[in-house]
């Protein structure tokens, strides 16, 4: 008989018991606070699923329709809950189907623990049925991975997995467990959470002199400019960040993964950076005198041409990952460390200022963008609906309180540009990898991660067709996800590039779609399609008010483009408004 004593750090058992490796896996998950698992069973992970049968009251398992859906769901769960997403998959094809999601989670720093079944240890390396070398396949796309061949290793391996996945710069971890280790019985002495690994330093030591140097630069700056990324959200440092920019009167712009860390309507929120970002933040990046990057990694979609990026500015880079410092952009002052700790240190040292004229320049440029782009986008003259007006109507109805999950393409950029947010962890998108097919399963996971919030998955007609089978998961488990398809009957972003850079040679972007509403009906999901402006708001309201999942297809202009745009190979200051 086991008695669990739950303390803050450790879970210990008073007696030893003889259990299987599979049971040890499930006990580890419970001890780590896991409540929801996404997965798909198969031969090599069957012992774990067999044990799960007895744990159904403690661990909710969501049977997805494809392992890729499983890991994207776990990502969505992690991004809205702020905790680790967990996935089960079997060996071979089950494990390889996780690779896209692992790469996505790796580049977007999403904490995910994947547990894959593996063939019996004695069959390893023999090309056994459904055997793949999953450790070597996943090495480049995991923060850490490990193969367990003996049940006694399971508690320690899982404790390490969770610690690595959620600490420091978070990321995906994969534990591959051979079938014999799942079956093998061993003397279980309890589960102890991992809080230290000799060779692993999740956060670098903060160097006070760098913080002081950074504060000095900020205090001397006439045109300081803050750019922030997901590090603020991952570090749970939204309050600290707001206090920092408010004290310094610092205009701040976001990367798409930083979106929602600061409410959209905050007076110092000056918009989005990057290829389809706002006019002001892009142009003024090349005008500011001190550029303060917080928890962002200078992705090429943000910087444009590196040799023409913020050359006039002294750059201060706050990041928990020392490898990000100087990786793409040379910094004047690196502030290593968790921004939850470094931001208050910096705030304490900076002077209270307002930089009114400088902030006004951002506002003026935003006005210019409004006049030339945004107003037309939100109130188009033609009969064709624009994606922006759909977002505008959605904002009005949700009041910025919904979780918006986007797929990849034009709709993603439009959603990121126009969606409004009032609270953090509200924007879930595939930023770094740009994975089409991400949104539907990620939205399912997001709903489990934030069950009391409205989750709207905004998806293009192309991306939806990549993972639409996950409507089956919704049907079976009832995740109340609102699916909003912005259908332009094109692979819109590729078409836009072909229009602008390939002489309008529309090569294989004219994609035919099925009747999405009928397909949704087949899955027991209510829905409708709208193609005229008059019905848009009613339809959106119907979708949001509907009890349960709902699919709304909105037919939008076929050849609409997303502007502004920094053409590839150009400087951010060369952003085009049309």
């Amino acid at each position: 008989m086991e008695t669990l004593e739950l303390t803050k750090e450790k879970i210990t058992t008073s007696t030893t018991e003889n259990i299987s490796g599979s049971e040890a896996v499930l006990k580890a998950l419970i001890a780590e606070g896991v409540t929801t698992i996404f997965g798909y069973p198969g031969g090599a992970i069957m012992p774990i699923y067999d044990a799960l049968f007895d744990y159904e009251d403690k661990l909710k398992h969501i049977l997805v329709r494809h392992e890729q859906g499983g890991i994207h769901a776990a990502q969505g769960y992690a991004r809205t809950s702020g905790d680790v997403g967990v996935v089960f998959a079997t060996s071979g094809p089950g494990a390889t189907n996780l690779v896209t999601g692992l790469a996505d989670a790796q580049i977007d720093s999403t904490p995910v623990v994947c547990i894959t079944g593996q063939v019996f240890a004695h069959l390893l390396g023999t090309d056994a049925f459904q055997e793949t070398d999953v450790i070597n396949i996943t090495t480049p796309v995991t923060k850490w991975n490990y193969q367990v061949t003996d049940a006694t290793e399971i508690p320690a391996a899982l404790a390490k997995a969770f610690y690595i996945a959620r600490s420091g710069r978070p990321g995906p971890v994969l534990i591959d467990i051979t079938k014999n280790a799942q079956i093998q019985k061993f003397d279980y002495k309890g589960y102890e959470k991992c809080d230290h690994i000799r060779s692993y330093r999740p956060a670098p030591i903060i160097r006070k002199e760098y913080v002081e140097e950074a504060a000095k630069l900020i205090n001397e700056a006439a045109k300081p400019f803050v750019i922030f990324g997901q590090g603020v959200i991952l570090g749970r440092a939204e309050k600290e960040f707001k206090a920092f920019i408010e004290k310094g009167g610092l205009p701040a712009a976001w990367t798409i993964l930083g979106l929602s860390a600061l409410e959209t309507d905050h007076p110092l929120n000056v918009g989005m950076l990057g290829m389809h970002g706002n006019y002001g933040p892009n142009v003024l990046t090349n005008d500011c005198d001190v550029l303060i990057a917080v928890g962002m990694r200078f992705d090429d979609r943000v910087t444009g041409r590196l040799d023409k990026y913020a050359k006039q500015a002294k750059i201060i880079h706050l990041d928990i990952d020392p490898a990000e410092i100087d990786k793409n952009v040379k910094t004047a002052v690196p502030v290593w460390g968790d921004c939850k700790e470094t931001l208050p240190m910096l705030t304490a040292l900076i002077e209270k200022k307002s930089h009114t004229q400088w902030v006004q320049r951002f506002n003026d440029m935003m006005q210019e963008e409004h006049d030339l782009v945004i107003t037309q986008e939100m109130h188009p003259a033609s009969d064709d609906m624009s994606m922006a007006e759909v977002l505008d109507a959605l904002n009005e109805l949700t009041k910025g309180d919904a979780v918006i999950v986007t797929d990849v393409g034009q709709h993603q950029m439009i959603a990121c540009r126009y969606a409004k947010f009032v609270q953090s962890k509200s924007n879930v998108t595939s930023g770094g990898l740009g994975t089409m097919g991400f949104a539907l399963p990620a939205a399912i996971g997001a709903k489990y991660g934030a069950p009391h919030r409205t989750v709207v998955a905004i998806i293009g007609d192309g991306g939806f067709q990549m993972t639409l089978q996950e409507m089956g998961t919704i049907m079976q488990f009832g995740a109340a996800v609102k699916i909003l398809i912005l259908n332009n009957n094109f692979l819109g972003m590729v078409r836009q590039w072909q229009e602008l850079f390939h002489s309008r040679r529309y090569s294989f972007v004219d994609i035919q779609s099925p009747d999405f509403v009928t397909i949704a009906k087949g899955y027991g999901i209510a829905g409708r399609s709208v193609n005229d402006r008059a019905n848009l708001k009613t339809a959106l309201k119907e979708m949001l008010d509907h009890d349960g999942s709902y699919l709304l297809e909105v037919m939008v202009g076929k050849e609409n483009n997303v502007f502004p745009m920094v053409p590839q190979g150009c400087s951010v200051a060369e952003i085009r408004l049309k």
């Binding site: 019996f120 390893l124 480049p140 061949t149 060779s199 490898a323 410092i325």
Partner: protein, 195 residues
């Protein structure tokens, strides 16, 4: 400016780590000139010595990526001036030639080579030194019928790394490395389960 850099990496003794480290080079299409891995002076801590020809900026970024790996304790990079290094080479030459030609004996003495195997048909010599020294002995032996030649990866000692040596020992005192059981079933095929 590209030049030769020696990267020294202290790691846990972990299966698969070599692959993780190698990937950092291959995904950037950087060729590894030489790679050696061996246990270090601290029990359970391994040491990689990697030689590449690159600019300092690239090498610095590579080291940061290497240090990001969970099982890596520390990565250093050094120019040739900052390290003491050696490579080991073995040369197989026909014994009859060696026996007859006095010149070869002198040559071997000159290069500090010594015999490790002497058979009636061939003799194997070994020497250690910098790449150029090893290369020039190979060239010198070629006229005498060099049958086979092999050179090891570089091993290097950092001239000023005493600090880290102490830190490693401190690590070990605080957190002794655990014995990790790795794929032990590979050797017990009959004893484990079958499908």
């Amino acid at each position: 400016m590209k030049q030769e850099y020696t990267i020294t990496v202290y790691t846990e003794n972990q299966v698969g780590l070599l692959n993780r480290i190698a990937i950092i080079f291959t995904r950037r299409k950087i060729n590894i000139d030489s790679l050696n891995t061996s246990p270090s002076e601290v029990e359970s801590v391994h040491r990689f010595t990697i030689v590449i020809n690159e600019t300092e900026d690239v090498v610095r970024k590579l080291c940061r990526q290497i240090e990001k790996q969970v099982e890596v304790l520390k990565a250093y990079y050094n120019t040739n001036e900052e390290i003491v290094w050696q490579e080991l080479a073995m040369y197989k030459v026909p014994t009859d030639v060696i026996a007859e030609k006095v010149k070869v004996e002198r040559l071997l003495r000159e290069y500090g080579a010594k015999a490790v195997v002497i058979r009636h048909d061939y003799t194997v010599f070994e020497t250690s030194g910098h790449r150029e020294e090893i290369d020039s002995l190979m060239k010198a032996l070629e006229p005498y019928g060099l049958i086979e030649f092999v050179r090891s990866a570089r091993v290097a000692i950092i001239k000023s790394s005493a600090g880290f040596h102490e830190k490693l020992k401190e690590f070990e005192r605080k957190q002794p490395g655990e014995d990790v059981i790795e794929n032990e079933y590979l050797n017990k095929q009959e004893e484990v389960f079958t499908m």
